[in-house]
Symmetry: C2
Amino acid sequence: MDIRSILLGFLMHDSMTGYDLKKAFSISFSFFSGLSYGSIYPALRKMEKQGLISKRLEIRSDGPNRKIYTITDAGKAAFLDALRVPLPRDQPKSPFLMRLFFFTHLSPEERQAIVVNYLSFVEETRRQMEIARPEIEARADRFQFLCYEFGLRFFSDLTRNLAQVVDSLDEEEKEERK
Amino acid sequence: MDIRSILLGFLMHDSMTGYDLKKAFSISFSFFSGLSYGSIYPALRKMEKQGLISKRLEIRSDGPNRKIYTITDAGKAAFLDALRVPLPRDQPKSPFLMRLFFFTHLSPEERQAIVVNYLSFVEETRRQMEIARPEIEARADRFQFLCYEFGLRFFSDLTRNLAQVVDSLDEEEKEERK
DNA sequence: AGGAGCATGTAAGCGGTTACATGATTTA
DNA sequence: TAAATCATGTAACCGCTTACATGCTCCT
């Protein structure tokens, strides 16, 4: 699922500007992924050329002009097609796993520091997700909420697994010192 | 951690050709990530220019000639630096989550099919990891094995969470039919 | 007067994939 | 003799980020 399908997905719900799309995405998905203007605006132009969305220029006196994009029937069809494309296998290309893989080249102290630091990072993300819960409960549909809960569990599991790694490192260090 | 650091990491252990590097990576990391020749060979040339690795041409009669790369002292230093760079926050950019987020646009049958299909995919990956266990136990160091176990737990957790999503979908469908 | 927020965009570059191209040797 | 494995590489392209550039309005 590329960026274009995601933009179409949001436009299924409502017509918006590129700016709005970025906001909508950030609110719903800040914990999973980011989207920058540098990819949004070119994507919108391309999709307009392909007839997946249509543009309406709104001239305003109380602010900068806006380009409001609306999904077309062709766009809706393209979006549904994209939803139905078989999923690729998930590859958790985690930078952390890469580090762990080469831990033998670091000192015990450095290893500990990396894992503990990463762990606190993950826990912080999880806390932030919990803070955002009421807002998500308010605006998300049931599937989007399912998505949110899935994410929460993901980070909980990650926390638990990282704690286990910390334990393993502790034990090994003790044995080394014997 | 980019591709170059990973290649350096493998070269820390032993001198190898580009072909060998791809194999080494595939064996250790097939479940997490892939690496193609289209990125390996240019990366090796670049790193040679930068003095991070050195090349030795081996002319053979019993097969194609090989370019064997060896990490230099500068390369070792660069690798350790890369290991110590603070980790970015993990973003589980899962294509599955994106689908789930827009599930409202699909029929209950299609939703079920996607999740169940994905679930079987994940379970299959997990099975393959378990099959590979003896080989990994044989060749991996303790941190690499920690890595393997971490991955296993990741897929177990994913399986569990997906099963929960299936349950949620089932319940909602039942309620809808009332 | 200055900063935050609204709004749109471009250019350069990074990191990577896919498909293509070549050619040798070993195994079935 | 065909297929698999060994071995190296290029060209075109994709998707995305970062940094830059512009300019307006509202609030303090």
